[in-house]
Symmetry: C2
Subunit: 635 residues, 2 copies
């Protein structure tokens, strides 16, 4: 049945079953959902929607017709009039696409009112469906910008969603002997430019599309020269998480003609926007070519369909997607694709952490069904056993207190996202316990990333959620943290006599403030640099880590200058957001069900091969460490 | 450098170096060759051509300008006038494309004359370059038709060759990090629809494009739904040999828009034309859909560039092809691709026989370089040891003499090509030795295929060549063989009271006369059927072989009728044109050099897997039995 026929069928049914006085104005696909617009949506019961959804095997939503919604400015005024001042409403966010208004306040209980009476009053007055939430403690510019884009370009966004919906529900003949194949376009036997390409006779799904920031040539990007790749044919793009090695090229896809959906969690959407813009900024500053502009980033945002963990959605004919927590960074996901009707299930872990961290819950390891698991191998080598987390924290605080005692500065190059926030929590605790007494400067995007963390409490660990929202004790707001706002600030930090700690991006010194701090602080043996994340081959970080005593760096005048490396260099691997070998094996042991096939990627060749061989010994199932450009038939 | 620039460069050079009185009329690519047309080609020495070829690293040919060539009719008259009658000239074949005339005669020595004097006289008189050959003992309609097509459509053929030449020499930037990949589009872990697809960043080479005659649905054809396959992108198609499981879909490629070259030996071109036409005929008779018409077959012929064994030719930018004898059927080849400049070599065996047969020399097993070997596995299973050849011949003659003694008829279903001619040689010997005394009827395309065999003595074993051409003793002309010309003839054979032997196509009873004989002779236990070739799963032959006692067959009236199987059923595997397990292992042992990777295809799944595992044990190199739709990176 064509999309048009399904819609007509649905329309007839809705009209037949709806209460007599209901005024239905439209029935349309938006993404994989069917949306019914009505002038009086309150007439439709939840039961009505459930029944319809069951009969048509589609997700159904009922929304107010735009014509009945009050203008946002006026609606906001009315909300503020109805809600008591004690509630301290901070922000009203109108989502034209869903007809919802998110009301951020300090005391959401007062927005709800006794048995929801205040909410009902609001609803009657403005027609928008009010969603009361606690105001996030730190405002985020990124989120604000994304929301305003989505509102300003709501007509365009709706148009995009309708087009996607029609593509998902297009008429295809599904064959019994459906084959399923995955091509490895990047990130196999290497770290960087991760890109998987699932193919069936009817559909093409791309999962992740990263860049290798350590490379300057075409090895920075996935193998778009793979003969099976065709940008026009892609049905859906899925992003597991916001690190650039997984999402760095997403805006590039739009630049080169992609016009379909991007599925990821909301935190991933926001964090990846932040990182992509940062990537453009750094590259422009360094005069390096960037494969896209902020226009393309915006276009990607408009095409993004956010998914919560555990929600299953159609993304192509006979392909369903569910995202599951990966425990790696905020919003990071395992992408589980269900193909055909009970035919085949393939999950890709993205990057995973199988241990509770300060911020996040451990990765999900149980699935309703699973035939192939594609898993990361960053620390999959036989020797990749990392130190325990609490030992590592002690070690870090020791290096810091010693460096500060002798009047030095500590550079902590970090990914802005994930490790940075984990370290902040460790440092805040150490400071409170009196282990060191010096400010912690945050440079690069760390502050903004932290703001995004506090905007999505439901993605944080239970502990953190409790601490921030119920105990009113937000560690990120500690006085020990100082934001470095601009280059003048930065010069002050570098020039100051007192010791301090500097958390700065990028984590591999491939550009950004961490390089600036390194350049000026490297020459002094009182200082220290502590690596807490993976350093890709070819990056400045890797060179320092390897113990180079002199490093040639291009100055602003285009001349090469040798930086003498005298500061003490430390590597603390226990903070990794990745599973170490022990955890990877534990993950495999806990995995349910045991898949028929395990493919290992995202690691140096030897690590992928070691892990594949370990998985084989464990399960006696087919395992393999594919190469880039291999395409493996799954079924 | 673009094709145009190369040509201009060459033209300048030719003009500069040529003798002063030479009149050069054109310089053009034709296929991978550069052809220089001159009004007086005799002025150019062999040395001149060699030097030019060396300097430009291209194959160079000098040909007479068409304007100086005499009209074929007149030229033939002059030839007959010059050559003494004793030479018994049978045929003059003018190849407008090369400016050559093949003079077929009973005594070619007399065409040559004393120290080549007669040849020189001819040349001066007609300008065509005369090539004297011994007239083949049996005329072939197929070859005649192909030659006449090529002559009639010479302008079109030249056009095609020029277009191909320009495509081969197109301007591409070759990258250092060139990857090489092979996709398995059919014939992996199965027999039938063989199709390999080599890919580099700049080129696409298809090797073989077969059909599975035992299948009625899309499983009959290779996986053209593979996402990397695109008919417009194919640079070259190579055919290893004329069996339909390797070439059955070649005309279909042209039907669906392919317009490039097909590389194979001349015997393969002629035999595959014969088999494709036969396939169309049978399918039409049975009312089955055929994916192409005789128009497409003709188009394929026009696009075929014949290659002799051992000749290396450019087939795409940075891809060279060499065909080597495979010992399987007349003209069968191993396709050895040399990619890049000393970068990588991949050979595909096609079907091989690694033992001298009555007709052919054993397969080539030594190559200048070899990184990946893709090999057939028809009899690669642990138990696939076939009986010795001489034992099998005795066995066959025993079944025949016994059946004939009790007044029965023996059906020998055969592929028209290869096994049929081998059996004829065995039967002719047995008849001469008095082991049986009954006629051997040849039905289907056997006679025509035999004619093609005698047209290419240089592709036969030394023994056969000697016997036919030097000892004047052509076993194919023995009185024991009777040609069945039409259905009336066939009815007479079936109805006759005397015992006889019937060699009939198709070999797997998937249609053709063998099915007709079986239908009427199956019911009588005096008769016998002897299978001498591989029977694919799903074919009628396989059912009989498995011992079905009743077989439902569709009659001409569309009703199903059950055939009772009472005749005695024999299977003699020792005649196989394939290596058995012993020979496959021997082939691997003799292989030089030992490749880095061995991929096994063309066999049931278990046989491919067994052979891959044996090859691994032998060499401790990477081996694999890929699946259809797997795409494996070689480099
Ligand atoms: Zn990551
Ligand atoms: Zn990663
Ligand atoms: Zn064959
Ligand atoms: Zn074959
Ligand atoms: Zn053509």
């Amino acid at each position: 049945m064509s999309a048009e026929e399904i819609l007509n069928d649905l329309k007839e049914n809705v009209i037949k079953r709806a209460p007599g006085n209901a005024v239905i104005t439209d029935v349309e696909f938006e993404g994989s959902e069917v949306v019914i617009y009505a002038k009086n949506p309150e007439l439709f019961s939840n039961n009505f929607i459930k029944e319809l959804a069951k009969d048509f095997r589609k997700r159904i939503a009922i929304r107010p017709d735009p014509s009945v919604l009050l203008e946002p400015d006026i609606a906001k005024e009315r909300i503020l009039r109805i809600v008591p001042d004690d509630a301290e409403v901070v922000n009203c966010i109108f989502d034209a696409n869903t007809g919802e208004v998110i009301i951020e306040s300090k005391k959401p209980g007062l927005v709800i009112g006794k048995e929801g009476s205040t909410l009902e009053d609001i609803k009657k007055e403005i027609q928008w469906a009010p969603k009361p939430v606690r105001a996030p403690p730190i405002p985020s510019d990124t989120i604000k910008a994304i929301r305003s884009t989505m509102y300003r370009e709501r007509a365009d966004v709706k148009d995009i969603l309708r087009r996607i919906g029609r593509r998902i529900h297009r008429d295809v003949k599904l064959r019994d002997d459906c084959w399923i194949r995955t091509s490895f376009l990047g990130g196999s036997r290497e770290v960087g430019r991760t890109c998987l390409y699932h193919q069936t006779p009817e559909s093409r799904i791309m999962i992740d599309c990263g860049i290798n920031v350590g490379m300057d040539d075409e090895k920075a990007f996935p193998h778009f020269d793979a003969p099976e790749f065709s940008i026009e044919e892609i049905d859906a793009v899925v992003v597991t998480h916001a690190h650039l090695d997984h999402c760095g090229f997403i805006p590039g896809l739009f630049r080169y003609g992609y016009d379909g959906p991007v599925y990821c969690t909301k935190p991933t959407r926001d964090l990846m926007t932040l990182l992509q813009k940062d990537y453009i900024d750094i590259a422009e500053k360094e005069g390096k070519p960037v494969p896209y502009t902020s226009r393309d980033v915006k276009n990607a945002i408009k095409h993004t369909i956010p998914l919560d963990y555990g929600v299953t959605t159609d993304i192509a004919p006979a392909v369903k997607l569910t995202l599951h927590n990966a425990g790696h960074i905020l919003g990071s996901a395992i992408a589980h694709c269900h193909i055909g009707d009970g035919l085949y299930n393939v999950a890709y872990t993205g990057d995973i952490k199988f241990e509770a961290s300060r911020l996040l819950e451990p990765a999900v390891c149980q699935f309703p069904r699973l035939e192939t698991l594609i898993m990361e191998s960053t620390y999959g080598g036989y020797d990749d056993v990392l130190p325990e987390r609490d030992e590592t924290e002690k070690e870090l605080l020791k290096v810091i207190s010693e460096t500060i005692a002798k009047g030095g500065k500590v550079i902590l190059p970090v990914f802005g996202i994930g490790r940075a926030q984990e370290l902040m929590l460790v440092l805040e605790e150490g400071y409170n316990q009196g282990i060191f007494n010096a400010p912690v400067f945050l440079d690069g995007m760390i502050w903004e990333a932290t703001a995004i963390h506090t905007a999505y409490p439901e993605y944080l660990s239970k502990n953190m959620r409790n601490r921030i929202f119920h105990e009113g004790d937000n560690p990120f707001l500690s006085e020990v943290f100082k934001k470095v706002k601009d280059t003048k600030d930065r010069r002050n930090v570098i020039g100051r006599d007192e010791p301090c700690i500097i958390l700065a991006t990028s984590g591999m010194l491939t550009g950004g403030p961490s390089v600036e701090y390194f350049k000026t602080l490297a020459d002094d043996e009182k200082n220290a640099i502590v690596f807490v994340g993976y350093q890709s081959e070819g990056t400045l970080g890797r060179k320092i880590q390897k113990g180079w005593k002199e490093i040639p760096l291009m100055g602003k005048n285009g001349k090469t200058r040798a930086i003498k490396v005298k500061l003490s260099v430390h590597t603390l691997e226990g903070f990794s957001g990745h599973c170490d070998r022990k955890q990877l094996i534990k993950y495999l042991r806990k995995l349910k069900p045991i898949p028929d096939k395990i493919l290992t990627i995202h690691g140096e060749a030897s690590k992928c091969i070691d892990l594949a061989s370990t998985a084989y010994k464990l399960f006696k199932k087919e395992t393999k460490a594919p190469m880039n450009l291999d395409s493996i038939r799954l079924r």
